[in-house]
Subunit: 320 residues, 2 copies
């Protein structure tokens, strides 16, 4: 029987450690705030969490084979986190070797979006795909590229940083410090910024009402709520946002010719209120769309669990 | 001994048929204008050219194994040209099967940029690369993506259409009918358009002089000539153009993490006058550039011969 593996989802605000079996089902599960006082503290928290989950599993008679970690960073082929602009500037931390020596299990580390793509490929909406994109519309845009049935990491492990293509040089500043990247127009964060701009122009009364009349409190979720109930102002904002999303999906599909696009992130809970206009605009923007097989755009299946499940799937590679 | 193969480079204005040996050396060689009176005429011209070259080769005692064709079209896995916006609207023409039955040799067909990438991979500047981009700055931007040592064609054979990413929604119209694609800013054609704009503003006297004082006759080559001699107005235009080129190279590298970028097209003859600023701007735009291994940006080695040599390399696959 295949041993279970432990998946770790290491984010800027929270970290999660979970035992996952070979069907992708989550067992013992620990969630913690990510320590803010340096990398030694983070490593200690990770190590303690893994040790606790492993002990709980073993107490139930479960064999544990390895640990996988997904982290919001550029991760090289040696499991060293090279660069993490959104994670306290993590630079050149040898996560894999440090963790392996402290927990006494084999450890694999990869970028969080690559790991989420592994989860969707093994147990979610990308199951059975040979060529797929798994894109997360969140604080930024996370990308996982599946080619020939495997997550594609590139020559140095840095592939699928899909948010940083120049999209509009006159537009919003990206978190990375360059102007007008796609991520600055099509992330979940960008939808909130668009909504606040619309509120400021007086164009989004129903969205403002959802935020209790506080223009600064408006987020993308308020747009989604109002749009779901059919408010025309919210639908207009969501339609414009969907076009930005679709323009990026089309550019990536022109480049990679994948057979399916899996979309994750909190906004996906809006379902076809968001994905409907994204599909329409994608078809309009894709080069030669009428001459290609259709490319389905579907919601991710694993939701917030994609991180730990995908990390546990990553860990299986160590055992293979 | 490996038999020679025949490479065909089928463009909108000219077609070329050449015998190529296993070292990438060109032997018998025929160049023709591409017939403008429909696809039957094109097929007949191709078939006649191939038959002539094959006969000349056989008369020299050369064994001929197969034919490869590169064409400016989306080509599916059955060798059917599905869509070719720049080639008289070629749609759904079964090039492979039609040619194979008329010339009596196995035939392989692929997109012209993919074929050029094969040529550079086998006999040119991408030799030995596992992950590479081969990008042609010409009328449009042609892209060939090499992953794990092979040309990547995607799920349906349509990958590497890298020019059609939204780059500036307020910008120039792309030939495909959408506004502001990268190709509309960074193709060879785009450099000519930028130069004519500069001439119109009175900002490019040395470039205008190269075109004999005729503003409408200005092309990118005049910019290149003047820049090579150090004319500040031409260097300024070329610097702006280099930034557009570099922004796209950076976006593609963020997505694909290739280890080298090979640049082809007539402008590459400018050498470091163009590639120097492209390299500088690329490094400035690439996400986390200081934390990655360097990505060399080099000139293609095969020049105008990449098409026939790459097509001949493609033909070898049929024999394998």
């Amino acid at each position: 029987m295949n041993p279970d593996t432990i998946g770790v989802d290491l984010g800027g605000s929270h970290l999660r450690v979970a035992l996952v079996d070979c069907t992708g089902t989550i067992g013992h599960d620990v969630r913690l705030e990510t320590p803010k006082d340096g990398w030694r503290a983070v490593l200690t928290a990770l190590s303690d969490g893994i040790t606790d989950v492993a002990a709980a599993g073993r107490a139930d008679g479960i064999a544990i084979g390895a640990v996988g970690v997904g982290v919001a960073a550029l991760v090289d082929d040696d499991g060293v986190a090279r660069y993490a602009p959104n994670l306290h500037g993590l630079i050149d931390v040898p996560l894999r070797s440090e963790l392996a020596s402290s927990v006494g299990l084999p450890v694999a580390v990869d970028n969080d979006a690559n790991v989420a793509a592994r989860g969707e490929l093994a147990h979610g909406a990308a199951r059975g795909a040979r060529h797929a994109l798994v894109l997360t519309l969140g604080t930024g845009i996370g990308g996982g590229i599946i080619l020939d049935g495997h997550v594609y990491r590139g020559a140095h492990g840095f592939a699928a940083e899909v948010g940083h293509w120049q999209f509009d040089p006159h537009g919003r500043m990206c978190a990375c410090g360059e102007p007008g990247h796609w991520e600055a127009w099509a992330s979940g964060t960008a939808l909130g910024a668009m909504a606040r701009d619309a509120v400021e122009r007086g164009d989004a009364p129903s969205v403002l009402a959802r935020a209790g009349g506080d223009a600064h409190a408006v987020t993308g979720l308020h747009v989604g709520e109002a749009a779901t109930e059919g408010a025309p102002d919210a639908l207009a904002i969501l339609g414009e946002y969907a076009d930005y999303v679709a323009l990026g999906f089309a550019g990536l599909t022109d480049t990679l010719d994948t057979e399916i696009i899996v979309v994750s992130g909190g906004l996906v809970e809006l379902g076809d209120v968001l994905l409907g206009p994204v599909r329409d605009r994608f078809h309009a923007h894709l080069e030669g769309a009428r001459h290609r097989p259709p490319v389905p755009i579907v919601a991710a299946a694993l939701g917030e669990h994609a991180g730990v499940i995908g990390a546990a799937v990553l860990a299986r590679d160590v055992l293979a």
